[in-house]
């Protein structure tokens, strides 16, 4: 049965639930993403997505929304022309599904609507802060207005709309840093596969 239950395979599993131990009796492959597994840089993205899903999942608590989101993203992985945008879209939507959407429109400290321009991102508090209300105790990340716009767009739109846009590399890099810091703050841990993702992509 080993070949059926490898990592990054979509399967139908038949499990007999036991009192102490459950028994895996049959497995049927739906999709083993064999095309994805031929490209090391795509595999590294797969490892990253899977680790994120694991971090945002709870043992013995099935989360269908996370499963569907992961399944859709893996399907899109081969066809998408900009995989970095896809990763950022996956992250922000995973945060939405898990109830951790960062505040992107209102200042976390003053509660006032944010004006168009550069603002600070607080990974500890989960959202943007107007520069004039910044405190010295928080480790903020400065976000330019294009990065903020991009993050808002990614959080509000489906992939079919997102794939049509172009995000400049500097904004994408800023989003990567913001997402990494924010996810680290939420999960209170490092995302191990990120190092490998950076190494091979």
């Amino acid at each position: 049965m080993g070949g059926h239950i490898d990592v990054m395979s979509k399967v139908n599993a038949y499990i007999s639930l036991g009192e102490n131990l459950s028994n895996l009796s049959q497995v049927e492959i739906i999709d083993n993403y064999s095309l994805l597994k031929k490209d090391l840089s795509v595999i590294s993205i797969g490892f990253y997505l899977l680790e994120l899903c694991e971090k945002f999942s709870v043992e013995n608590d099935p989360n269908n929304d996370i499963y569907e989101h992961l399944s859709l993203t893996l399907d899109l992985l081969l066809s998408s022309s900009n995989k970095n945008i896809l990763i950022r879209w996956f992250e922000i939507n995973l945060l939405i599904i898990s109830g951790f959407l960062p505040e992107l429109y209102t200042c976390l400290i003053s509660g006032e609507k944010l004006s168009e321009g550069d603002h600070l991102f607080s990974s500890i508090n989960g959202g943007l802060v107007d520069k004039k209300f910044a405190t010295s105790t928080d480790n903020y990340i400065l976000m330019d207005k294009n990065s903020i716009k991009s993050l808002r767009f990614l959080s509000n739109n489906s992939w079919s709309d997102v794939e049509k846009i172009k995000i400049p590399n500097n904004s994408l890099e800023k989003l990567r840093i913001v997402m990494r810091k924010y996810i680290q703050a939420i999960t209170n841990s490092q995302i191990n596969s990120e190092k490998f993702l950076s190494k091979v992509s």
């Binding site: 490898d6 990054m8 090391l40 595999i43 590294s44 680790e51 191990n192 490998f196 190494k199 091979v200």
Partner: protein, 212 residues
């Protein structure tokens, strides 16, 4: 570890032995107790032999400088064997894999043990296993003509194989990099094979006269 066996009526030395056995993989509290009581029934010489053997694997075994396999000397017996083919290196994940390949008698080249596979989610990247040593070996020994990658056929093993291929193909020209053939195991039924195995078995099919 939870001291499940720490029963007050048992002598502390026996409890300590039970706890020690429980450190071994696959040994639960009942088996640990069984092993501890069996040890009690042994002669002092037998127990001494076992304890010395346990200590020896930590004090006498080192990793071979060349292939990273376990060895009692700077270089292991396989690396020192002049009858083996120096031009071909088989890359495996663990030293147990060397044992399995050696037992088959089918491989006459040298080995390289990686001590694991790339497993990014567990924080194991290329720098955490012995890929660097393999690259140095390939760079420093001109006679090496072929690398056979025999990592496991799961996603981690595949990622490791692809990474080695990516790194080595840029380091040395004319180096042949091969992967173990994938297909149906002997004695298996096609009916129970997964799609990936069938796909590889068909893709790697050979002329019936060429099959071993």
């Amino acid at each position: 570890m939870t001291p499940l066996n720490n029963l007050q009526f048992m002598p502390p030395a026996l409890n300590k032995l039970i706890e020690s056995f429980r450190l071994l993989p696959g040994i639960g509290p009942k088996t640990a107790r069984k092993l501890a009581f069996s040890t009690l029934k042994m002669s002092t010489d037998q127990v001494k032999e076992i304890s010395e053997s346990l200590l020896d694997i930590k004090t006498q075994l080192i990793f071979c400088e060349s292939c990273q396999n376990i060895s009692e000397n700077k270089n292991c017996n396989i690396c020192m064997d002049e009858n083996r083919d120096n031009s071909i290196i088989c890359v495996v994940e663990e030293f147990m894999d060397v044992y399995v390949l050696e037992k088959s008698g089918a491989f006459k080249g040298k080995f390289h043990v990686l001590h694991g596979s790339i497993s990014p989610a567990n924080g194991i990247g290329p720098d955490e296993i012995r890929i660097k040593e393999l690259i140095n070996r390939v760079n420093n020994i001109p006679s090496i003509k072929e690398i056979v990658i025999a990592t496991n056929l799961n996603l981690e093993g595949e990622a490791t194989a692809m990474y080695i291929n990516q790194v080595l193909s840029t380091k040395k020209d004319k180096l042949k990099i091969t992967r173990l053939a994938r297909g149906l195991p002997s004695g298996s039924d096609i009916e129970y094979a997964d799609e990936t195995t069938i796909l590889h078995a068909l893709g790697s099919r050979v002329n019936i006269n060429e099959s071993i």
